[in-house]
Amino acid sequence: MATRQDDRALASEALARLRHRPRRLTLPDGRTVRFPKAAVDGLIEMLQAVAAGDTATVVRNPRELTTQQAATVLNVSRPTVVRLVEEGRIPARMIGTHRRLPASAVLQLHDEMIARRRHTLDEMVADAEALGLYD
């Protein structure tokens, strides 16, 4: 759904007023509200999106993931995630009978998987070229 024109104008105006990324705002009743930096950065990001006519969504990044969530991030099956945990490639802690995996470790493994597959693909092409398989 497209952003309404008046919303875009409001977002642009708000961005102009918040350009210094203030960490505290004064309410009409005189009270002051303080914001964490992450919240201000998120608000600015959202206003920039609306001002540009885009829509914006807030995505929460939990510190820990379930095995199913990790499987979705890694684009593998849940049993594969369980295997990776059992092999010690992803740390996990147990909450009752359920595993919880640090999101940072899952994302790091995701980056490693992408780097490894790209490296392997590059090697495959280089070898194939050297052997004349493209001829």
Binding site: L84, L121, E123, M124, V125, A126, D127, L131
Partner: protein, 180 residues
């Protein structure tokens, strides 16, 4: 689910795996399929060490941690309509919840598509045509990446498309039509 016949010759393999590298699809293969590729390479290039090159090389799909290498599934009654030789392809496709079996074997496609399952079979050409129709800009990046990787024997994009036209004729025609 990628059948062996779409991963040979190397150019087909390069295109499909580069599409994977750009997150256009998530492939699944089995060790039996990799062995078939070894066999094809050994026949076509008898001077090479078996398994030394191509997608079946030890450092690639045989990596036990490779997310796209699946154990072969046992045949179930759901795939009874598929010939015995290729039943493992359909069975593994179902077991891994694959959307598609990508195979250039026309008979296998004819056998899989009427099955009472969600699995569908398409040719390699049909597959990359569908990727191009849904994500044309990403396909442009795939082609650029394929050109960039060919450092020893550089190729132009037009040369690459010309070579791809044999295994992927409709794909190359649609890419060309979009550029015109």
């Amino acid at each position: 689910m990628l059948d062996a016949n779409v991963l040979v010759p190397i150019l087909s393999c390069d295109l499909l795996l580069t599409c994977f590298d750009h997150d256009l699809h998530q492939p699944v293969v089995t060790l039996r399929i990799l062995h078939k590729i070894d066999h094809s390479l050994a026949v076509d290039f008898p001077q090479l060490d078996p398994g030394a090159v191509g997608p079946s090389r030890p450092t690639n799909c045989r990596d036990p941690h490779a997310s796209h290498t699946s154990p072969e599934a046992d045949a179930t009654p759901a795939v009874d309509g598929v010939n015995a030789k290729d039943r493992h392809v359909a069975a593994t496709g179902l077991a891994t919840r694959s959307d598609l079996v990508v195979t250039n074997d026309r008979r296998l496609r004819r056998e899989i598509n009427p099955l009472d399952t969600s699995l569908r079979a398409v040719s390699g050409d049909e597959f990359v045509v569908s990727l191009h129709r849904t994500r044309p800009n990403d396909i442009d990046q795939v082609l650029e990446a394929m050109v960039a990787k060919r450092t020893r024997q550089p190729v132009a994009r037009s040369d690459l498309l010309h070579a791809l036209a044999t295994p992927f004729p409709r794909f190359v025609a649609e890419v060309g039509a979009r550029q015109d």
